[in-house]
Symmetry: C4
């Protein structure tokens, strides 16, 4: 397998939500976990879709060649320094200039103890 062939350039995650509350030592968060097994750096562009407003575009991240990046979605910013609000349902489209694989995970500690959920993103190439 040529490593350049692993994955795709457009990934979608319909169920995103950044819980506003946390308990214990672990902070509630969501991650877009990206693997780039190719030889070129991946430039990633996130678009956040909401229920009642226009999409938030141009959220940026990167993943070097032969590296993974577990990107905290709550930390993403665009050039205007806009970020995704907490406690709001949204969805993500993740576009990359090179092929990558994307998995999405939520860690939720809004009630005592810990809940996890994960799924491969939907490949929309």
């Amino acid at each position: 397998m040529a490593s350049e062939k692993a994955g795709g350039k457009v990934w979608i995650v319909p169920d995103c939500f950044l819980p506003a509350h946390s308990t214990g030592n672990l902070k509630s968060h969501e991650s877009a976990c990206v693997l780039n097994i190719g030889k070129k750096p991946a430039r990633l562009k996130f678009t956040a879709y909401f229920e009642n407003r226009e999409p938030l575009e141009g959220l940026q991240a990167a993943c070097p060649p032969r590296r993974t990046n577990h990107i905290r979605i709550g930390s993403l910013k665009n050039r205007r320094r806009e970020a995704i609000p907490l406690g709001t349902p949204f969805a993500l489209k993740i576009e990359s200039n090179v092929k990558v694989v994307v998995q999405h995970t939520r860690l939720d500690t809004s009630q005592p103890a810990l809940a996890l959920m994960t799924t491969m993103a939907y490949l929309a190439d």
Copy 2:
């Protein structure tokens, strides 16, 4: 990628269940999270399949263009105002007039603390 090409028109989720009990501040529920990145509104038709009775058809929802809708499955109603009962195993078929992406999530607080599970729905186009 033309945004009209993301996703599909028929999605299936075999494991659905609306827990009848909740603890803490978070109410147990299931959501069908839909993303419509296209330019036309999505009209969604849900069919619920059960273990021991005829399917419940015509449950309706919508998702505007360039929006997500995290649809509470327990709130769906058809024209006869019928809804899916709590505490009963069922499965869902979700049909859309335009291409969408569907992810299904259960949040269960029937025992103290919080459990989450999620999966992309199965694309049956």
Copy 3:
């Protein structure tokens, strides 16, 4: 979409485990959730693969047309009345005579509170 076209006839779940312990009111279990949206009854044959012994074959279940069946994996039996042991890692192959969709879920209450995980089975047609 012709409803006969939804899904496939061979599904695989590598991570199966029936927890031997439960806490609270919910008993730990795994379910293979099957949806048959077609017009013919589905006859299902499960094969359980283990780490250190021969597979257990011929575990049987069914799913009527236009019905779902959330099959408790711990209740499956073959003609010799053999079942899958608790507390043992295994994997499942699920074969159907007609196309179905299969999702696998574990509910684990071995430690207080509740944990859930789910995934669509892998379609091996």
Copy 4:
């Protein structure tokens, strides 16, 4: 279906993390659950990708024919006896000489109670 046709030879899991802490009787861990329904033994080679260092290559495991192996990722070693560190984000590429199916699961007890997440690995053949 010829059993040799089930699955693939290259699988990817972007979100891996071995929690350093555990509570209760269950130790936090991740498993790569492999099913080999074919007739030939599977030799498995794992590559771990990190955020800030070169990949760790040559981690080895096996899965006999008609068997499953729920491989503890924290126990994998290469010929230099190197292993994956705890508490560090990473991603996995799993390569097999014969077709297999791979599912990835994390069990996390870092906070009291139990959290589970699972997904089929991404097939990159």
